[in-house]
């Protein structure tokens, strides 16, 4: 298991190449990549603020809860903070398990909790100024399924 909160870019392809491999009991690997999306076509950059100390702690707790709920061979969370450009990777999650159901469910669980329970805040700057990204009701609602 690895949790990383970092300003530096990460290499999604390289992370996927190695993750969860080598154990003979791994049959399913699921990975998720979050990318800075430009809904308006006018996004210049995104600033990700976080709460140093609490961020690592919150993500680690979420990851440990996932390992209690599902039998995972491995788990990875990388989340960036700082200044990002449209199209840049912002975060990733990966899970490895015997069967696909556990790998998919654990990855979705991690994503749902990271969205609403890890202390990150996004600010978008476009050609018309800056605004904080509002939390979406559906992200909060997504937690109810777990």
């Amino acid at each position: 298991m690895r949790v990383s909160v970092q300003a530096e870019p990460f290499d999604f392809g390289a992370e996927c190449a190695d993750f969860g491999r080598g154990g003979r009991d791994v049959g399913a690997v699921v990975s998720f990549l979050g990318v800075v999306r430009d809904d308006s076509g006018a996004l210049k950059r995104m600033e990700v603020e976080h709460y140093p100390g609490m961020t690592e702690r919150a993500i680690t707790e979420i990851a440990e809860e996932a390992r209690r709920r599902w039998d995972l061979a491995d788990l990875l969370v990388i989340h960036r903070h700082g200044a990002l450009l449209p199209g840049e990777p912002i975060m990733m999650v990966a899970t490895a398990a015997r069967h696909r159901a556990a790998a998919f469910e654990a990855a979705e669980f991690l994503m749902d909790y990271l969205k609403s329970r890890a202390p990150f805040w996004k600010k978008e700057t476009g050609t018309d100024g800056s605004r904080w990204v509002a939390a979406r009701d559906e992200d909060e609602d997504a937690l109810a399924r777990w």
Partner: protein, 82 residues
């Protein structure tokens, strides 16, 4: 003395990321009332508590939570990670 942290637009409205304050507040809600009474920028930041979240010593908490023993309190909007 307690360390108070502000993030995102809460930080911007109050105009600073952290401060150390002396308070006799027993709960988060009491501390919020003390802060709101200080200056307009605090009143603006804490105008709608439903739009805010609070963490005590880096764990999410409620506004009714007691402050006894707490060293660090943080106020911020709903999180938008992922």
């Amino acid at each position: 003395m307690i360390t108070v942290l502000y993030f995102a637009w809460v930080r911007e409205r109050i105009g600073l990321p952290r401060e150390r304050i002396e308070s006799s507040a027993k709960t988060v809600a009491e501390l919020v009332e003390e802060l709101k009474a200080r200056e307009e920028r605090y009143a603006a930041a804490f105008a709608d508590l439903k739009a805010l979240r609070v963490a005590l010593d880096q764990e999410l908490a409620d506004f009714t939570a007691p402050l006894a023993g707490v060293r660090e309190i943080a106020f911020f909007p709903p999180m938008t990670g992922g």
